[in-house]
Symmetry: C2
DNA sequence: GGCCACTTCTGCGAAATCCGCAATCCACGC
DNA sequence: GCGTGGATTGCGGATTTCGCAGAAGTGGCC
């Protein structure tokens, strides 16, 4: 774990965040390095991160807080739901007509829905569902998702086994 | 944030983990409560967690360490890859013949593959791919995934917009 | 250039947290 | 009853977090 960034910090590296046209903050190399550190260990002390990225402890703390406030990242515990008591999971592909985004928003509001993404291809939306049991899953898919206005059809893929789950973007 | 668990801790709650038949550790109510706390904030101090679940700081620390060692959970920073410089993501549905699990294992080994799950339904495997650009994505899907022995066909769903991403199982 | 407003970074002391360890408690089997 | 093993507690000392004031860099403006 050596210091990755020792270059003379100047100009473009100094603005840690700046709004770009689509509203998502622009991240500089140092912030990316900080995120990378926290992707390896979400509890790594600020001083250790600072040593790795070439910043003081206080500066790292300030940047991390900002990244959290901006919603760029979140530091959380992640698990395999199957080991935590949720026995049924499924990915649901949805075909929609009309205002697809409002359907996606409706899905976002459901607590059983973990993940919603709008896609190109033979589905318009993919949504991941986490449920306690089969009845619960059936209920969510048939009664609640299919009932949404604009949903034309759905196709479900029940999870049999989770093989990989990583959060190491940039750590390649 | 009140103390959720003040019941007289005894018998079944005391064994924080025990192997069940499928190899996944069995979690008791206290460990679930700890995980839940860390799903809200991965950096929450052990003492605060202890107060919430009714355990001493040292006990929480020991349990968390064990959960991490066992691989039941990981505490990490998660981001929306699009804001971190990965412009193309896709979910790939795979139809396979023969040893499906070995295909899943091969996918697991690819750094661009974030998520692999074996499913029931019209796909045998779903895999999430995170790439820098279109060329990279095309390369992974056509050259590497389709080249795996046993892969009969694939269908890709390119991500247009990530709408939701949560890690709040049990926090309902 | 000079000045001001704004943001980011640094240094540092106080408070809180983390860490390791020995002692204690409890369920269980003999 | 007694020993064994796992889980929990209590408690110092080392480390980390926190808040803040001052310094440094940036960009706009005259």
């Amino acid at each position: 774990m050596h210091s990755v960034l020792v270059a003379s910090r100047s100009a473009d590296q100094r603005d840690s965040s700046r709004e770009s046209r689509n509203g998502t903050p622009q991240l500089d190399a140092v912030s990316l390095a900080i995120i990378q550190q926290l992707q390896e260990d979400g509890r790594r002390p600020y001083a250790a991160i600072g040593k790795a990225v070439g910043l003081s402890e206080a500066a790292v703390r300030q940047r991390v807080q900002k990244l959290l406030d901006q919603g760029v990242m979140q530091i959380v515990a992640v698990t395999d739901p199957l080991t935590v008591g949720f026995r049924r999971q499924a990915m649901v592909g949805i075909n929609a007509e009309g205002d697809v985004e409002s359907i996606a928003d409706a899905l976002t509001g459901m607590s059983e829905v973990e993940y919603v993404v709008m896609t190109a291809g033979s589905f318009d939306i993919l949504a991941e569902i986490v449920c306690e049991d089969d009845d619960h899953l059936l209920d969510v898919i048939n009664k609640r998702i299919r009932a949404l206005p604009g949903v034309r059809s759905t196709e479900s893929f029940v999870y049999l086994k989770l093989k990989k789950q990583t959060y190491m973007w940039g750590t390649r």
